[in-house]
């Protein structure tokens, strides 16, 4: 089973690929919009890429709740364990 750190690290690679944010900046306490400057269209791309990478479903109405990297990692963890 993937650890929190493994999920964060894989997610950081996705965010880097899509938005160009350095992987080391993609930390659990960082806000996608306020800290990492990931705009709403890029966020849609991040979500779709994460769904494919982790094989989880992230419903559209859930995306607005994923404010920080930690929120996204926790959601993915629940999906993987649920």
């Amino acid at each position: 089973m993937a650890s929190t750190e493994e999920i964060r690290s894989d997610l950081a690679v996705i965010v880097n690929e899509i938005a160009g944010i350095p992987v080391e900046d993609v930390q659990l306490d960082k806000s996608f919009t306020d800290d990492l400057d990931v705009d709403s269209l890029s966020m849609v791309e991040v979500v779709v890429a994460a769904e494919e990478k982790f094989d989880v479903k992230i419903p559209d109405d859930e995306v607005k709740n994923l404010k920080t990297v930690g929120d996204a990692v926790a959601f993915i963890e629940r999906g993987l364990n649920g």
Partner: protein, 411 residues
């Protein structure tokens, strides 16, 4: 009321001959072909397997994260626009961005994005990119060029197939003459060397099928021509009011004297065989530029290497210039770079401007035996232009019966 004088103060291009204006111009002067046989897997079933791709991939120049938000069309346009902007010295010029306009044309638009997202759609609608619309819309390239430099006058995208690039330059000229802008980044872009356009143009019998000899495929005015060679690239010219250019001490390549636009009213794809529509475009460009046929010393012809089009244009040039066509040295850059569709007029306007600026006309290659229906003075090697005041025409015609001619003159 006298017309506002408009000059060219910057040039930018990426073409099959080079990733910038200098290398492209050097390639044209050297008579080098940018054609090659394609080796992609997708080409194997196609009747036409040759094209003229850009010499430098735009993704080598544009930052990765930005590049993935741009269709290939827009990537090429941004590369050309950045060069033109820098060449014109506009970076720290204090230009009022509300007086900066953009007119970047395309013939087809963001086809890579359209097709790749259609493939994604068939697999899973959620895999369609949220950026697909802003990437595939035809105005995307103009919009991204506008965003790149903060242009806040109008940002425009004329679409008239292979006349588009010249229409953009005509539109840019108008914007400055109407007092709506001081500077306009005008040009065209096209990056559609892909299976669908190759197959579709081939089905129209528009493309050369000389697969075994790509560098000899594009042969305007030659008796053995059998269609055009698909190229890709972009060209952007900085158009600027003369007053504005002089006030900031800009270097000036040439003056854009006038533009002429007409429609054949004849057929969706075939040129009017009498050449009357193309003639009117050239005549209008000369009238608007206060030029007479005696002033025209050079013609950058549309000359795509199709059997009908090359003859119709030759007739049109003779109708427009009469006996003065004898001293208008004609050349066909498409013999080297192929047909850049919506970028053709822009890249070839740059060649026309440089021909006036350096007073030398690049050669037409592959002209082994002149079609006896062609009555032009063609440069088959570099030809010097005389001293003194010179003018030149650049022709572009497009499916739909669009004709656009631009008249340039020395300054």
């Amino acid at each position: 009321m006298s017309k506002t004088r408009v000059v060219i103060t910057g040039l930018g291009a990426t073409t099959p001959l080079g990733g910038d204006v200098a290398s492209s111009w050097e390639g044209l002067l050297a008579g080098r072909s940018g054609a090659r046989r394609l080796t992609d897997d997708w080409v194997q079933n196609l009747a036409v397997q040759i094209a003229a791709p850009v010499a430098v991939e735009p993704t080598e120049i544009i930052e990765r994260v930005k590049a993935r938000r741009l269709d290939r069309n827009a990537q090429l346009a941004v590369v050309a626009a950045r060069e033109a902007w820098a060449d014109a010295g506009l970076e720290d010029s204090g230009l009022d961005k509300e007086r900066l306009g953009v007119a970047v044309a395309t013939g087809i638009g963001g086809l890579h994005t359209t097709l790749s997202n259609y493939d994604a759609l068939l697999k899973n609608p959620r895999r369609v990119s949220p950026l697909a619309i802003p990437m595939l819309m035809p105005n995307s390239s103009a919009a991204y060029v506008g965003l790149e430099f903060g242009a806040k006058s109008g940002v425009h995208t004329p679409v008239s197939a292979c006349a588009s690039g010249n229409e953009a330059i005509a539109l840019g000229l108008d914007q400055i003459r109407l007092g709506r802008a001081d500077v306009v980044l005008a040009g065209g872009t096209e990056g559609t060397i892909m299976p669908l356009p190759l197959a579709a143009f081939s089905q129209m019998m528009a493309l050369s099928k000389r697969n075994d000899d790509p560098e000899r495929a594009s042969r305007p005015w030659d008796t053995d021509r059998d269609g055009f060679l698909l190229g890709e690239g972009a060209g952007v010219l900085v158009l600027e009011s003369y007053e504005h250019a002089v006030a900031r001490g800009a270097k000036i390549y040439a003056e854009i004297a006038g533009a002429g636009i007409s429609a054949d009213g004849h057929d969706i794809a075939q040129p009017d065989p009498t050449g009357s529509g193309a003639r009117r475009a050239m005549e209008r460009a000369m009238v608007e530029g206060d030029l007479t046929p005696a002033d025209i010393m050079h013609i950058n012809a549309h000359a795509t290497s199709t059997p009908q089009g090359d003859v119709a244009e030759s007739l049109a040039i003779r109708l427009a210039l009469g006996k003065d066509a004898d001293h208008a040295v004609a050349t066909a850059p498409k013999s080297m770079i192929g047909h850049l569709l919506g970028a053709a007029g822009a890249v070839e306007s740059i060649a026309t401007v440089l021909a006036l600026h350096h007073r030398v006309v690049p050669p037409t290659i592959n002209l082994d035996k002149l079609d006896d229906q062609i009555d032009l003075d063609i440069a088959t090697e570099q030809r010097k232009l005389p001293d003194g005041d010179l003018a030149a025409l650049n022709n572009s015609f497009g499916f739909g019966g669009h004709n656009a001619a631009i008249a340039f003159k020395t300054i």
